[in-house]
Amino acid sequence: MEKKLGCATRDAYGEVLVQLGQENPDVVVLDADLSKSTKTAAFGEKFPDRFFNVGIQEADMVGIAAGLASSGKIPFVSSFACFVVCKAYDQLRMSVAFPELNVKIVASHGGISVGEDGASQQSIEDFALMSSLPGFVVMSPADAVSAKALVREAAKYKGPVYIRTGRPKTPILHSGNTSFQIGKGVRLREGKDVTLVATGLLVWEALEAEEKLKAEGIEASVIDLHTIKPLDRELLLEEARRTHAFVVSEEHQIWGGLGSAVARLLAQECPSAIEFVAIQDTYSESGKPEELFQKYGLTSAHIVKAAKKALSRKGRVAVS
C-alpha cells in the first residue's frame, strides 16, 4: 500500500470553510489569535465582516459564538484543541451544550502529532471531555477527504459539534466517492478474524497493521470511526458478531476516549476480546510525530501486537 500524503486535516478545514462562507451568508468564524495555524485565516481575508479574531481569550470566544448562534448564525470556532476545550470548558458546557446551540468547534493540533511544540500544545483529553458534554457530536477525521466532507456535514447538522483536526499532513485514505455521515463509520477493509477500529491518524496505522497481519494469515477489518459520538452501533455490532475481537486505536489518553466508548457498547451488546492502542495515562513531550508515535505506542506494530493479544483471548470471551 503506497503512502500518498495529502494536506493536513486543518488545511482541508480552512479550504472548505471558505466554500461554506460563499454558499451561506450565515456562516461566521471566530478564532483566538491562532488563525494562521488553525487555517481560518483564509476565511478572514475573504469575509472580514464575518470573521472575529477575539484575541487570546477562548472563554469569551465560545460565549460570543453562543450569542451569534442564538441569533441565527452558524459560528465555526477554532483554536488549538487543548486551549478551546480546556480553557473554555465551562463555556462549552453552559453557553453551548446546555442550551443545545448550533455552534461548531473545529479544533486543530489534536493529539501528540503536534510534535516539537511539546505536551502543553498537545491535546490528549479532548475526546473524553467533549464526549462528556450531553448532546455534543464529536468527530476526528483521518484525512483531508473525510475532513472536508465532515465539516460540510457539521454545517448542515443543527446542534453542537466538535471536530478535531491535526497539524501534520495526512496520508489519503478515502476516495472522493465515499459518503460520510455523522455517526456512520467507514469500513476500509473487511476480514473475519479481528476488527481494527481507529480514528484520526491511527486509521493509517490500522491499515498498515492490516497488511502486516495479512502476511501472517490473519484477516482484519479496518474501520475508520470518524465519529466518536454518537457511536456507530450498527457497524460495530455487525463486526462484533463476525470477529468477536477488537483493537481500538486513537491518538488520545486511554481514559475516556474512543476505546472506552466501544468497550462499553461491546460489553453491553456483544462481549468480545478487546485491546486498546492509546496513550497510557501520561503526557507526551517534544519530538518528531513519528518518534512520539513510536515512544507512546501508537504505531502499526503496536496495533499488530494488540490484535494478536485480542485474538489469543478470543475463545475465552463469552459470546452471546
Binding site: V28, S71, P99
Partner: protein, 273 residues
C-alpha cells in the same frame, strides 16, 4: 408588542414584582432573594418601559434581548416575564419544583422569553456580544441588554469580554451592573475588591454611566443615552441595595441565597403592600 408603562407607573409595577419574588421564594423554600430584589427596578424599567418585545412572539427576530448573566437573580426575571405576559403568573409558584420550566437558574430551552441559560457567572456578557454582532451583520436595530452582578466582575471572562467588545466597536450592547456590593461569602470589598469599578470600565474604553439603580427615572435616562452611543459598548454602573424593599433583607447578606420563611415572607409582604 408588549404594552409600555409610563415612568410614573413603574414603581408600583416594581412593588408588585417584589411581592411575587418574596412569595415564589417562600413557596420554593430556597433561592436568592437579595440579588433578585436589588435587580428588580432595573428589570422593571427594561421590560415595562424600554424594551421592544412581544410576549406572543418570543422569537421575533427584531426583539430587544435581555440576558440575565447573574442567573441566580432568576426569580426577578421570571416575575417580570410573567407580568409581561410570557406565561401565566401561576407558574411562578412552581419555581424550583420538579419539571417546572422555572428552573433554579434560567434554562432557555424550558421557558419562553429567556435569551440565555445562565448560572455559571461571567458568561452573559460574551453571549451578549454575540447577539450584538449578529445584529450588526443582519443590519437590524435591536438592543442587547446584559444584567450583570458585581460578583461576576471577579471572573476573568468578564474582562476578556470587556476588551473584545471595545476592540470590535460593539454598540447596541448595554450592560447594567447591579452593584449591590455583596457576593455570596461577604462584601465584595472583603472578598475581591473591584474598585475602582467605574475606572476599570472606562479604561477598557467603554461608555460608562453611574446611577442609582433603584431610581427608575435615572435608569431610563441612562439607557436612553446608551442607546445613542455609536461604535462603543455601554455600561451603566447601577448602585443598588441587596434585598432592596424589605427592611430586614436590605444589606443583610444572609438573604443572598436563603429564602424567607413563611413568617418572614408575611412580614415582607406587609412591608411591600
Amino acid at each position: 408588542m408588549a404594552k409600555k408603562l409610563s415612568l410614573e407607573e413603574l414603581p408600583s409595577k416594581a412593588r408588585e414584582i417584589r411581592r411575587d419574588i418574596i412569595q415564589m421564594l417562600a413557596e420554593a423554600g430556597s433561592g436568592h432573594p437579595g440579588g433578585s430584589l436589588s435587580a428588580t427596578d432595573i428589570l422593571t424599567a427594561l421590560y415595562f418601559h424600554l424594551m421592544n418585545h412581544d410576549p406572543a412572539k418570543p422569537k421575533w427576530p427584531d426583539r430587544d434581548r435581555l440576558i440575565l448573566s447573574k442567573g441566580h437573580g432568576a426569580p426577578a426575571l421570571y416575575t417580570a416575564l410573567a407580568h409581561a405576559g410570557y406565561f401565566p403568573r401561576e407558574l411562578l409558584w412552581t419555581l424550583r419544583k420538579l419539571e417546572s420550566p422555572l428552573q433554579g437558574h434560567p434554562d432557555m430551552r424550558r421557558l419562553p422569553g429567556l435569551e440565555a441559560s445562565t448560572g455559571s457567572l461571567g458568561q452573559g456578557l460574551s453571549i451578549g456580544i454575540g447577539c450584538a454582532l449578529a445584529r450588526r451583520l443582519d443590519k437590524k436595530s435591536f438592543y442587547t441588554y446584559v444584567v450583570m452582578s458585581d460578583g461576576e466582575t471577579n471572573e476573568g471572562q468578564t474582562w476578556e469580554a470587556a476588551s473584545a467588545a471595545a476592540h470590535h466597536r460593539v454598540d447596541h450592547l448595554i450592560v447594567i451592573l447591579d452593584y449591590n456590593k455583596f457576593q455570596l461569602d461577604d462584601a465584595v470589598h472583603k472578598i475581591c475588591d473591584m474598585e475602582p469599578m467605574v475606572g476599570k470600565w472606562q479604561n477598557f474604553n467603554w461608555h460608562v454611566q453611574e446611577i442609582d439603580g433603584h431610581n427608575v427615572k435615572q435608569i431610563v435616562a441612562a439607557v436612553r443615552e446608551a442607546q445613542e452611543v455609536k461604535g462603543r459598548p455601554c455600561i451603566i454602573v447601577a448602585h443598588t441595595i441587596k434585598g432592596k424593599g424589605v427592611s430586614f433583607m436590605e444589606n443583610n447578606n444572609h438573604f443572598h441565597g436563603v429564602a424567607p420563611t413563611k413568617e418572614e415572607a408575611t412580614k415582607a409582604l406587609a412591608e411591600l403592600a
